[in-house]
Protein backbone atom coordinates (compact mmCIF):
# COMPACT_ATOMS: atom_id res chain seq x y z
CA UNK A 1 0.00 0.00 0.00
CA UNK A 2 1.15 3.52 -0.82
CA UNK A 3 -1.63 5.58 0.75
CA UNK A 4 -0.02 8.99 0.37
CA UNK A 5 1.10 8.42 -3.19
CA UNK A 6 -2.23 7.10 -4.33
CA UNK A 7 -4.13 9.77 -2.38
CA UNK A 8 -2.11 12.56 -4.00
CA UNK A 9 -4.13 14.81 -6.27
CA UNK A 10 -2.98 15.27 -9.85
CA UNK A 11 -1.04 18.42 -10.67
CA UNK A 12 -3.36 21.07 -12.08
CA UNK A 13 -1.96 24.01 -14.01
CA UNK A 14 -4.59 26.37 -15.41
CA UNK A 15 -7.13 24.07 -17.10
CA UNK A 16 -4.94 20.99 -17.48
CA UNK A 17 -4.09 18.17 -15.10
CA UNK A 18 -0.97 16.04 -15.13
CA UNK A 19 -0.24 12.71 -13.50
CA UNK A 20 3.50 13.39 -13.66
CA UNK A 21 5.09 16.21 -11.68
CA UNK A 22 8.18 16.24 -13.85
CA UNK A 23 8.44 18.51 -16.89
CA UNK A 24 11.32 17.71 -19.19
CA UNK A 25 13.27 20.24 -21.21
CA UNK A 26 14.63 18.87 -24.47
CA UNK A 27 17.75 21.04 -24.77
CA UNK A 28 21.08 19.28 -24.88
CA UNK A 29 20.03 15.82 -26.09
CA UNK A 30 22.59 14.21 -28.37
CA UNK A 31 19.99 12.98 -30.83
CA UNK A 32 16.27 12.36 -31.24
CA UNK A 33 16.44 8.65 -30.39
CA UNK A 34 18.16 9.35 -27.08
CA UNK A 35 15.66 12.10 -26.35
CA UNK A 36 12.71 9.78 -27.01
CA UNK A 37 14.13 7.20 -24.60
CA UNK A 38 14.62 9.85 -21.92
CA UNK A 39 11.11 11.25 -22.36
CA UNK A 40 9.60 7.79 -21.99
CA UNK A 41 11.76 6.87 -18.99
CA UNK A 42 10.94 10.15 -17.23
CA UNK A 43 7.19 9.53 -17.30
CA UNK A 44 6.70 13.21 -18.13
CA UNK A 45 3.57 14.44 -19.87
CA UNK A 46 4.95 17.82 -20.94
CA UNK A 47 8.20 18.78 -22.67
CA UNK A 48 9.61 22.14 -23.64
CA UNK A 49 10.88 23.24 -27.04
CA UNK A 50 12.51 26.41 -28.31
CA UNK A 51 11.60 28.32 -31.46
CA UNK A 52 14.43 28.88 -33.95
CA UNK A 53 14.99 29.55 -37.63
CA UNK A 54 14.23 26.54 -39.82
CA UNK A 55 17.39 24.64 -40.64
CA UNK A 56 16.87 23.38 -44.21
CA UNK A 57 19.49 20.67 -43.60
CA UNK A 58 17.85 19.26 -40.46
CA UNK A 59 16.73 15.65 -40.57
CA UNK A 60 13.52 14.85 -38.72
CA UNK A 61 11.52 17.16 -36.50
CA UNK A 62 11.54 17.19 -32.73
CA UNK A 63 7.77 17.56 -32.96
CA UNK A 64 7.58 14.04 -34.44
CA UNK A 65 9.57 12.71 -31.48
CA UNK A 66 7.24 14.44 -29.04
CA UNK A 67 4.15 13.19 -30.84
CA UNK A 68 5.52 9.67 -30.93
CA UNK A 69 6.03 9.84 -27.15
CA UNK A 70 2.45 11.05 -26.69
CA UNK A 71 3.37 14.07 -24.56
CA UNK A 72 2.38 17.74 -24.72
CA UNK A 73 4.50 20.63 -26.01
CA UNK A 74 5.41 23.65 -23.93
CA UNK A 75 7.18 26.23 -26.11
CA UNK A 76 9.63 28.59 -24.46
CA UNK A 77 11.02 32.04 -25.17
CA UNK A 78 14.61 31.01 -24.46
CA UNK A 79 17.22 33.43 -25.68
CA UNK A 80 15.04 36.55 -25.35
CA UNK A 81 16.57 39.53 -23.55
CA UNK A 82 13.65 41.96 -23.70
CA UNK A 83 9.92 41.82 -23.02
CA UNK A 84 9.22 42.84 -26.61
CA UNK A 85 11.31 39.98 -28.00
CA UNK A 86 9.70 37.48 -25.63
CA UNK A 87 6.17 38.61 -26.45
CA UNK A 88 6.84 38.31 -30.19
CA UNK A 89 8.37 34.88 -29.71
CA UNK A 90 5.37 33.75 -27.66
CA UNK A 91 2.99 34.91 -30.38
CA UNK A 92 5.00 33.00 -32.99
CA UNK A 93 4.99 29.90 -30.79
CA UNK A 94 1.22 30.12 -30.46
CA UNK A 95 0.94 30.09 -34.27
CA UNK A 96 3.46 27.29 -34.71
CA UNK A 97 2.23 24.88 -32.05
CA UNK A 98 -1.41 25.83 -31.67
CA UNK A 99 -1.07 26.32 -27.92
CA UNK A 100 -1.44 29.42 -25.79
CA UNK A 101 0.83 27.95 -23.12
CA UNK A 102 4.24 29.57 -22.91
CA UNK A 103 7.27 29.06 -20.73
CA UNK A 104 8.28 32.70 -20.43
CA UNK A 105 12.00 33.24 -20.22
CA UNK A 106 13.56 36.72 -20.36
CA UNK A 107 17.20 36.64 -19.42
CA UNK A 108 19.42 39.45 -18.18
CA UNK A 109 22.84 38.41 -19.42
CA UNK A 110 24.61 35.60 -21.21
CA UNK A 111 26.94 34.62 -18.39
CA UNK A 112 24.42 33.85 -15.69
CA UNK A 113 21.27 33.48 -17.82
CA UNK A 114 19.46 34.84 -14.78
CA UNK A 115 16.00 36.26 -15.40
CA UNK A 116 15.65 40.02 -15.96
CA UNK A 117 12.89 40.72 -13.41
CA UNK A 118 11.73 44.01 -14.92
CA UNK A 119 11.42 42.71 -18.46
CA UNK A 120 9.95 39.42 -17.22
CA UNK A 121 7.10 41.05 -15.33
CA UNK A 122 6.42 43.40 -18.23
CA UNK A 123 6.23 40.47 -20.70
CA UNK A 124 4.08 38.40 -18.31
CA UNK A 125 1.53 41.22 -17.98
CA UNK A 126 1.33 41.66 -21.75
CA UNK A 127 0.99 37.93 -22.46
CA UNK A 128 -1.68 37.40 -19.78
CA UNK A 129 -3.67 40.27 -21.32
CA UNK A 130 -3.18 38.59 -24.68
CA UNK A 131 -4.79 35.36 -23.43
CA UNK A 132 -1.68 33.26 -22.88
CA UNK A 133 -1.25 30.72 -20.11
CA UNK A 134 2.04 32.06 -18.78
CA UNK A 135 4.58 29.95 -16.91
CA UNK A 136 7.44 32.31 -16.08
CA UNK A 137 10.99 31.17 -15.36
CA UNK A 138 11.94 33.44 -12.47
CA UNK A 139 14.62 33.98 -9.88
CA UNK A 140 14.08 32.61 -6.37
CA UNK A 141 12.82 36.00 -5.16
CA UNK A 142 9.56 35.57 -3.21
CA UNK A 143 8.46 39.13 -3.97
CA UNK A 144 8.91 38.72 -7.72
CA UNK A 145 7.09 35.37 -7.56
CA UNK A 146 4.17 37.12 -5.88
CA UNK A 147 4.17 39.90 -8.46
CA UNK A 148 4.09 37.33 -11.28
CA UNK A 149 1.21 35.53 -9.63
CA UNK A 150 -0.63 38.84 -9.17
CA UNK A 151 -0.06 39.53 -12.87
CA UNK A 152 -2.10 36.42 -13.65
CA UNK A 153 0.57 33.81 -14.37
CA UNK A 154 -0.72 30.23 -14.21
CA UNK A 155 2.35 29.05 -12.28
CA UNK A 156 5.66 30.45 -11.09
CA UNK A 157 8.91 28.71 -11.94
CA UNK A 158 11.74 29.78 -9.64
CA UNK A 159 15.22 28.51 -10.37
CA UNK A 160 17.13 26.17 -8.09
CA UNK A 161 20.37 27.53 -9.54
CA UNK A 162 21.40 29.14 -12.86
CA UNK A 163 20.46 27.24 -16.02
CA UNK A 164 22.72 24.31 -16.83
CA UNK A 165 24.87 24.62 -13.71
CA UNK A 166 23.56 21.51 -11.92
CA UNK A 167 24.29 23.23 -8.61
CA UNK A 168 21.01 22.14 -7.03
CA UNK A 169 18.80 24.21 -4.72
CA UNK A 170 21.03 27.17 -3.78
CA UNK A 171 18.50 28.92 -1.60
CA UNK A 172 16.12 26.41 -0.05
CA UNK A 173 14.74 29.02 2.32
CA UNK A 174 13.58 31.28 -0.52
CA UNK A 175 12.14 28.34 -2.44
CA UNK A 176 10.21 27.26 0.66
CA UNK A 177 8.95 30.83 1.18
CA UNK A 178 7.72 31.01 -2.40
CA UNK A 179 5.91 27.66 -2.01
CA UNK A 180 4.39 28.75 1.30
CA UNK A 181 2.81 31.89 -0.12
CA UNK A 182 1.93 30.96 -3.70
CA UNK A 183 -1.63 30.21 -4.72
CA UNK A 184 -0.53 28.85 -8.10
CA UNK A 185 1.72 25.83 -8.69
CA UNK A 186 5.40 26.44 -7.99
CA UNK A 187 7.59 24.60 -10.47
CA UNK A 188 11.29 24.46 -9.67
CA UNK A 189 12.97 25.25 -12.98
CA UNK A 190 16.69 25.14 -13.75
CA UNK A 191 19.83 24.24 -11.85
CA UNK A 192 18.90 20.68 -10.88
CA UNK A 193 21.95 18.43 -11.10
CA UNK A 194 20.91 15.06 -9.77
CA UNK A 195 18.03 13.14 -8.23
CA UNK A 196 18.49 14.42 -4.66
CA UNK A 197 18.19 18.01 -5.92
CA UNK A 198 14.82 17.24 -7.49
CA UNK A 199 13.65 15.42 -4.37
CA UNK A 200 14.68 18.38 -2.20
CA UNK A 201 12.75 20.82 -4.38
CA UNK A 202 9.64 18.70 -3.95
CA UNK A 203 10.22 18.29 -0.20
CA UNK A 204 10.38 22.08 0.09
CA UNK A 205 6.86 22.24 -1.32
CA UNK A 206 7.24 22.62 -5.07
CA UNK A 207 4.36 21.24 -7.12
CA UNK A 208 6.63 20.05 -9.91
CA UNK A 209 10.17 20.16 -11.26
CA UNK A 210 11.32 21.22 -14.72
CA UNK A 211 14.76 20.08 -15.78
CA UNK A 212 16.67 19.42 -18.98
CA UNK A 213 20.45 19.38 -18.79
CA UNK A 214 20.60 17.06 -15.76
CA UNK A 215 19.00 14.38 -17.93
CA UNK A 216 20.03 15.20 -21.49
CA UNK A 217 23.73 15.61 -20.67
CA UNK A 218 23.94 12.74 -18.17
CA UNK A 219 26.13 9.84 -19.24
CA UNK A 220 22.98 7.70 -19.45
CA UNK A 221 20.06 10.08 -20.09
CA UNK A 222 17.31 7.45 -19.90
CA UNK A 223 18.59 6.13 -16.57
CA UNK A 224 18.83 9.64 -15.13
CA UNK A 225 15.33 10.37 -16.46
CA UNK A 226 14.03 7.36 -14.53
CA UNK A 227 15.94 8.52 -11.44
CA UNK A 228 14.35 11.96 -11.72
CA UNK A 229 10.89 10.43 -12.11
CA UNK A 230 11.40 8.49 -8.87
CA UNK A 231 13.01 11.43 -7.07
CA UNK A 232 10.14 13.78 -7.87
CA UNK A 233 7.68 11.14 -6.76
CA UNK A 234 9.60 10.39 -3.55
CA UNK A 235 10.06 14.07 -2.73
CA UNK A 236 6.37 14.70 -3.21
CA UNK A 237 5.46 11.75 -0.98
CA UNK A 238 7.87 12.91 1.72
CA UNK A 239 6.35 16.38 1.60
CA UNK A 240 2.85 15.00 1.99
CA UNK A 241 3.96 12.59 4.70
CA UNK A 242 5.17 15.45 6.92
CA UNK A 243 8.80 15.15 7.88
CA UNK A 244 9.92 15.06 11.51
CA UNK A 245 11.24 18.31 12.98
CA UNK A 246 15.02 18.68 13.05
CA UNK A 247 16.47 18.43 16.58
CA UNK A 248 19.67 19.66 18.14
CA UNK A 249 20.18 16.60 20.33
CA UNK A 250 19.61 12.91 19.79
CA UNK A 251 16.31 11.28 20.60
CA UNK A 252 16.43 7.52 21.10
CA UNK A 253 14.13 5.55 18.88
CA UNK A 254 14.43 2.57 21.25
CA UNK A 255 12.81 3.26 24.62
CA UNK A 256 15.09 3.26 27.70
CA UNK A 257 12.19 1.93 29.81
CA UNK A 258 12.57 -1.74 30.65
CA UNK A 259 16.33 -1.77 30.11
CA UNK A 260 18.03 -4.65 31.89
CA UNK A 261 20.48 -3.83 34.70
CA UNK A 262 23.67 -5.37 33.39
Amino acid sequence: MEPHLTADAALTIADRTFGSRLILGTGGAANHAQLAEAIKASGTELVTVALRRVDPGASGSILDVIEQCGVGVLPNTAGCFTAEQAVRTARLAREAFDTDWIKLEVIGDEDTLLPDPVELLDAAETLVRDGFTVLPYTSDDPVLARRLEDAGCAAVMPLAAPIGTGLGVRNPHNLALICEHANVPVICDAGIGTASDAALAMELGCSAVLLATAVTRAADPALMAAAMRDAVSAGRAARLAGRIPKRHLAKASSAFEGMAEL
Binding site: T26, R52, V54, I62, N76, A96, F97, G164, A190, T213
Partner: protein, 63 residues
Protein backbone atom coordinates in the same frame (compact mmCIF):
# COMPACT_ATOMS: atom_id res chain seq x y z
CA UNK B 1 12.37 42.43 -55.41
CA UNK B 2 14.82 41.59 -52.65
CA UNK B 3 13.88 40.31 -49.22
CA UNK B 4 15.77 38.94 -46.24
CA UNK B 5 14.82 35.34 -45.43
CA UNK B 6 16.13 34.10 -42.09
CA UNK B 7 18.90 36.66 -42.35
CA UNK B 8 19.91 35.82 -45.94
CA UNK B 9 19.21 38.04 -48.99
CA UNK B 10 16.81 36.33 -51.41
CA UNK B 11 15.11 37.21 -54.69
CA UNK B 12 12.05 35.84 -56.48
CA UNK B 13 10.01 35.29 -53.34
CA UNK B 14 6.70 37.12 -53.45
CA UNK B 15 4.54 35.76 -50.62
CA UNK B 16 5.00 34.52 -47.06
CA UNK B 17 4.09 31.02 -48.23
CA UNK B 18 6.81 31.20 -50.93
CA UNK B 19 9.29 32.11 -48.23
CA UNK B 20 8.24 29.15 -46.08
CA UNK B 21 8.42 26.80 -49.06
CA UNK B 22 11.93 28.05 -49.81
CA UNK B 23 13.26 26.67 -46.51
CA UNK B 24 11.02 23.73 -45.59
CA UNK B 25 8.41 21.30 -46.85
CA UNK B 26 6.82 21.22 -43.39
CA UNK B 27 3.74 23.26 -42.62
CA UNK B 28 2.98 21.90 -39.18
CA UNK B 29 5.00 23.46 -36.37
CA UNK B 30 6.00 26.43 -38.50
CA UNK B 31 5.55 30.13 -37.73
CA UNK B 32 6.40 33.12 -39.85
CA UNK B 33 7.08 36.76 -39.04
CA UNK B 34 7.47 39.71 -41.37
CA UNK B 35 9.43 42.66 -40.01
CA UNK B 36 9.08 41.23 -36.51
CA UNK B 37 5.30 40.80 -36.59
CA UNK B 38 3.74 37.35 -36.58
CA UNK B 39 1.81 36.41 -39.72
CA UNK B 40 -1.14 34.14 -38.84
CA UNK B 41 -1.39 30.91 -40.80
CA UNK B 42 -4.59 32.20 -42.45
CA UNK B 43 -2.62 35.09 -43.96
CA UNK B 44 0.33 33.19 -45.39
CA UNK B 45 -0.72 34.19 -48.92
CA UNK B 46 0.11 37.76 -47.99
CA UNK B 47 2.37 39.44 -50.61
CA UNK B 48 5.79 40.62 -49.53
CA UNK B 49 7.28 44.04 -50.22
CA UNK B 50 10.80 44.94 -51.27
CA UNK B 51 13.13 44.93 -48.27
CA UNK B 52 10.87 42.85 -46.03
CA UNK B 53 12.63 40.75 -43.41
CA UNK B 54 10.99 37.34 -43.16
CA UNK B 55 11.64 34.87 -40.37
CA UNK B 56 10.51 31.25 -40.73
CA UNK B 57 10.74 29.41 -37.44
CA UNK B 58 10.15 25.95 -36.06
CA UNK B 59 10.66 23.85 -32.93
CA UNK B 60 14.15 22.92 -31.83
CA UNK B 61 15.48 21.29 -28.71
CA UNK B 62 15.38 23.68 -25.81
CA UNK B 63 14.88 23.77 -22.05
Amino acid sequence: MKIQLNGQPREGITTVLDAIAAVTEARRGIAAAVNGEVVPRSEWDRPLADGDAVEVLTATQGG
